[in-house]
Symmetry: D2
C-alpha cells in the first residue's frame, strides 16, 4: 500500500513497450531523430499551436531550465511559499538562474491568489538597481496540495503578470491530473488562459524519466537548447525519452490514467471523511491530506501503508498524512487502507 | 550502417528486461530503494573496495558534478585540449563549478603526457590570488580518439597530481572499452593506479540513460548528494536507473560487450589499412579515425554509412572520418563498409 | 538639509589627510604594504583578539563575500525580511554564494527574534537533499530601522545558531553607531556575544570607500582571499583603503563620530515627538522614522530637506520619512528641519 | 626605486585635490549627483559621441562586468593567452559571466594576430549546442607586455569579430599609455577603429581607485547597472569616484602623465640596450622587459630596486625583469637603476 508518492510507482506498460520498440536499431543522438521530430508535431497537435518543445528527464530540470530562460540573475520569480520550486528542489532555480530570487507569497490551499500577487507587484521598487526585479510568476497546476486553479484564476494571474511584463510559468509535474479534473482541453488549460511556459510532467504520470518544457511562444525559448546542454540535461539517446512521451500522449493515455488516479483519491477522501477523518485541503486531483491521530497513523503503517507526514497538524497528537494515488495504485489498496482506519 | 557514435544504438536486451522487471510495483523514490542499495554493493564488489556511488543519467552530468565536488570556483582543472569536457559539454564544468577554469594541455593521440603536465605544474603561480589554482587533473579513458592510457601512464599522472595536492578524475564514458582493452580488472584500471573519482559510463555501452559517479575515497564525495539534487540530476524513479546499471554489470556484460565493440573496430581498422587508408590514431578501443578522400567518403555515405568528419585532415581533399563501433553494431556492417571502399 | 542617508555626506577630514599622506611614494600593491599590515594589528588591538581582516570598498561586497565564505550553494542564510542583504543588494548574496537562499523571517522593529528563529530551525528538514540547508544567520547591527540588538539578544541568537552548526554574521555597515549606543567595547559587542564574522563599515561613518570583513576565528576565512580577487574586490592600491580605515579607528574617531550622529538623531526624534509626530521605530542610533502627513512632507522638501519615504504608512494620507543623521550633518539642519514642521 | 608596477605609486595631486573638494557637503549617493552627471558629459566630449559610461573601482571589475554584459554563460571570449583577464584576475570573467569560457590564442609580443583569430573563427562549430559559442573578442591595449596594436590591427580584428556577430572589448587599464604612444585621439584609438566596449583605466594612471566602463553603443550596456550593483561594485559615494576620473581627464592630464611614463620607459630601455642588455619585447609604452643575468638582478635589488621576474628567460642563468614606469616614478630612479647595471 504505497501512498508515499506517484513517483513510487513504476512505468506504464504502454511506455515500456514503446521503449523496447524505439530501442531497436540506430539513430542519430541528441534529438536528431524521427521519434523526437514526431513528438514535436504531436505536442503541436495536442496543444493546438506551434510550440517549442524540449524533452528532459527530471521535473526539477524542467522547472529550473524554463525559469532560467525567462529570468536573468538580477531577476525575481514570484511564487507560492509552499511551491515545489521553493521547498523541494534544493534551490535549483537559484542555481540555474545564476542567483535570481524566489519571492514567496502565502496563500490558502497552496494557491497564489491574484489579490496577493497584485499587492506585491504594486509595491515593488521597479527599476531600482538595489532590488531584484520580477521577470516571471510561477505556479503549480495542480499545487503541492493537489488543489487546482480554475481557468479564471490563471487568467487573472496571467493578466497581472503580463501587465507588468512578466511571463507566466506553470509547473505541471502532474499537469494531466489538473487537465482531467478541469475537464478542459490542454490548450484551454494552458496558453488559452495565459500560460507562457509549461513544465509538462510525465514521470509522475507513468513514464520512466521524461518531462517536456513547452514554450507556447517559440521566441521565448531563446537559448534554452544551450542551457539544457550546459546543464547536462541533453539526453544522448534522446529518442528513448521522446518515445516515453509519445506513448504517454498516445490515445490520451496520460489523461485516462490521471482521471483514474483522481478517482481513487476522491474515493479515498470520501472514505476517510465517512470515517470521521478531517481532510485539510480540498481533494481535487490525486492527493488527499488527512489529519490522523498518531495512533491510527501508526496502525496504518503497521498494516503496510506507506505515506509521508507533514508535521504541522492543527492538533498536537495528530499528523497530517499526505496520501497520493497514481496511475498504478491498486484499487484494493484504497479499500484496505480505509478498512484499517476504524 | 551507423558508425556515427555508440550512443546512436539503443539498449541491450538485458537492460530492457531489467527495466521491465524493476518497473513492477512500488518503491520509495530518489534512491531509497532495494535496487539502488544492491547496486552500491555490486560496485563495491566489482571495484574491490567501499566506494561512494551516485547514479546519474548523462555523462555530462557525471563529469561536471564530479569535478564541481573537487574544484572550487577559484580552481582550475588540468586536462587535454581535445577532451570531452573541453569540446563537447558546452562548458558544463564551468557552470557546475561556478566558474572554475579548464586549463588545457596539448598531447599526441589525445593523451595528456606526464611531462607536459609536470611542466605546467612546475610553472604554476601557486598560492597567488591573482591566478586560478589547480585542484584536479581530468583525463579520459579511453580518450576522444579511442586511445588508452597504460596503467603506467595513469600512475605517473596520478603521482604528479597527488604530489601537488590535486585529485585525479577520469571521464570513463567508455570505461568498459578501456578495461577490456587493457585486460586488467576494474580496480587495477582505476584506484589501484591512482584514480580518485571515476565517471563510469553505461549509456554508450548499452544502457538507456545511466552513468555512475564513483568516489574511491567516500570522503571525497562531500556534498555531492546536494549538488546532484540542486542540478536536477536526482532521478525520482531512481531504481529504474540503478536497474540499468545492475544489468549492465551483471555477469560482466559491460566488459563482454565492450570487447565485442573493440574487436569490430580492430577489424574495421585492419580492413581499412589493407585497403590503403591512413589511420590517424592507434586503434585501441572502439573507434577508428580514417583519413579518406572526399570522394570515397561521399560514396560511403551514398551507400548508407553514417559517420562524422573531422575537418583537420592532413591533405586538402581528404576528411578524417570518425568511425565508432558499439555493443550492437551488426558485424556485417563492418564488412559492407569495407566493401564500399575499393 | 540632507537626511537621505549617511552615505550622502563626504569624507572625514582626518581620513582625507591620511589618504594624502599614504598616497606619497611607492609601495607594493594588493595589500603587501606597511599600512595594511599595521591596520591588521590595529584591528586585533581594538577587538582584543587575533582576527583575519580583509579590507574591501563597498558594504555589499563585504556582506556578500563574507556570506559566500560561510555558505555553500546548497545553503540557506536565515535573516530578517527587511534586512539590507534582502532588500538593498540586488541579490548579491545569491550571486556570490552561487545560488544559496536568503530565508527571510519577520520580526518587530527590524529585528530577528530568537523565538522566531528557533521555530524555523526546529521545523527545518535537516539533511534532506530536497531542501536547502541553513549554514548561517545574518543580522544587522544596527538594523535597517536603526534599532539595536541588546547583547542578550545577540547571545541568544548566536547560541541557537551555534547549536545547529550555523555561523553568525553581522552586517555592521553602521556598527559604530551600535557600539556607541550600547556603551560597550567592540569586542563585547561582537565576538564576546557570539558573532563569528562582522562586516565592519566605515564608508557610512566617514570614509571614502572602505569596509573590513572580520573573521574572529581566522580559520573561518578559508578561501576569502581568492573570492575577493575573483569578484574584483581586491584593490590594487590597497594601502589607500587601509589608510582610510586606520584614520577612522585612530583615537576612536569612529565611535566619537557615531555618538555625534546618534545624538543628532535623538534630538531630531525628540523634537518630532514634541511636535506631535508619530515615530514608528525606537530611535536608538542615527535614524528616525517619522510618520508625516503628506502635506508636511511636501513642505519640508520645499524647504530644502532631502529624505526618502517608505510607502507603508499606517494612515492613507501619510508617509513614513526615513531621516538619517551622519558624522557631518550640520546641527543647525536638525533645528531647521524641526522648525519647518509646525 | 619601484619598478614593480604603476599601481605601486600613489595618487596624482590633482586627483587628491579634486577628492577633497568633492568630499564637501552632501549629495545623493549611488551616482545620482552632479559630479557623476558632468563626468558622463565629459566622456562624451572626449570620445566624441554619446556613450554609456559606468564608473567602478577596480580594473578586474571593469573587465569582468563588461564581458558579462556581452557574453552569456554558454559563450566564449576569444583572447590572447597571456592577457590580464586570463592570467591575473583569478577567473573573474568566468565568475561574472556565470561560466563562459576564455578561449586563449597564442601570439607574438602579447598580441592577438588577426590571422590566428580568423583561423579560430573559421573552425568553430557554430550553433552546435555541444560547444560554447564565441560572443566577444577581448584584447588589451597596451598589452601585458606593454606593446600596442596599431589602428590597422584593431580594425582588422574588429572587422573579423563583427563579421561573426562578436563584440570587441578592450582592456584599457593603461589606455592612456596606448593613446599617448599612438598619437591619436581617444576616439580614433577606440570606436573609430571598431572597439565596442572599453575598460578605461585610471587607477594605474594616477587615480586612487577609479575605472570606467564605456559602451560606445549605449544599447550594448543592457543590464549593466544591475550587474554592477549585484556584484557589489556600485560605490555609495559615487561622486568621489567620479571626481577622480574628472580630475584625471581634466586638461588631458591622463595623456600628459602617460606620455611622461612612456618617455621614462623609452629612456630605460635605451639605457639597458646601451649596456648590452637584451630587451625581449618592443618598448612601446611604459614597460620594459629586460633579460638580466641573475647576478645583476640580485645586485639591482640589493641597490634598492623593486621589480617582478618572469621565469621564462631564454637563458638558464637569466631572469626576465618586468620594469614599469609610472606617472610618479622619479626620473633619477631611472638613472640610478641604469647606473647599477654596469
Amino acid at each position: 500500500m504505497n501512498f508515499a508518492s506517484d513517483n513510487a510507482y513504476g512505468v506504464l506498460p504502454e511506455v515500456l513497450s514503446a521503449l523496447a520498440q524505439a530501442a531497436q536499431g540506430a539513430a542519430l543522438p541528441y534529438g536528431d531523430d524521427d521519434v523526437t521530430r514526431a513528438l514535436a508535431l504531436r505536442f503541436n497537435a495536442v496543444f493546438e499551436r506551434e510550440i517549442a518543445m524540449f524533452p528532459v528527464m527530471t521535473g526539477t530540470a524542467a522547472n529550473a531550465l524554463a525559469l532560467a530562460t525567462l529570468v536573468p540573475p538580477h531577476g525575481a520569480i514570484l511564487c507560492h511559499q509552499d511551491s515545489h520550486i521553493v521547498v523541494h528542489e534544493c534551490g535549483a532555480p537559484e542555481f540555474f538562474t545564476h542567483g535570481a530570487r524566489l519571492h514567496t507569497i502565502a496563500g490558502a490551499d497552496g494557491k497564489l491568489e491574484p489579490g496577493a500577487l497584485e499587492a506585491v507587484l504594486k509595491q515593488w521598487p521597479w527599476g531600482d538597481v538595489h532590488g531584484v526585479q520580477p521577470f516571471a510568476v510561477s505556479l503549480s497546476q495542480p499545487t503541492e496540495l493537489g488543489t487546482i486553479y480554475s481557468r479564471e484564476d490563471i487568467s487573472a494571474i496571467a493578466a497581472l503578470a503580463h501587465r507588468h511584463g512578466l511571463k507566466l510559468h506553470v509547473d505541471g509535474a502532474r499537469f494531466g491530473n489538473a487537465v482531467a479534473a478541469l475537464g478542459r482541453t490542454p490548450a484551454e488549460a494552458s496558453w488559452k488562459c495565459g500560460v507562457d511556459v509549461l513544465s509538462f510532467g510525465a514521470s509522475k504520470g507513468g513514464a520512466l524519466a521524461a518531462e517536456a518544457v513547452l514554450f507556447f511562444d517559440p521566441a521565448d525559448a531563446r537559448d534554452f537548447a544551450f542551457r539544457r546542454k550546459k546543464a547536462g540535461h541533453l539526453a544522448s539517446k534522446m529518442r528513448l525519452v521522446s518515445a516515453q512521451l509519445a506513448a504517454f500522449m498516445d490515445k490520451d493515455l496520460w489523461l485516462h490514467k490521471a482521471a483514474r488516479a483522481n478517482a481513487l483519491a476522491a474515493r479515498l477522501g470520501e472514505g476517510l471523511k465517512a470515517r470521521g477523518v478531517t481532510i485539510t485541503a480540498p481533494v481535487q486531483t490525486n492527493m488527499v491530506f488527512a489529519e490522523l491521530p498518531r495512533e491510527i497513523a501508526a496502525r496504518l503503517r503497521a498494516g503496510g501503508a506507506q505515506f509521508f507526514d507533514r508535521t504541522r497538524a492543527s492538533r498536537e497528537d495528530h499528523v497530517v498524512a499526505r496520501l497520493v494515488t497514481s496511475f498504478a495504485t491498486p484499487e484494493e489498496d484504497v479499500e484496505r487502507f480505509l478498512s484499517l482506519i476504524v
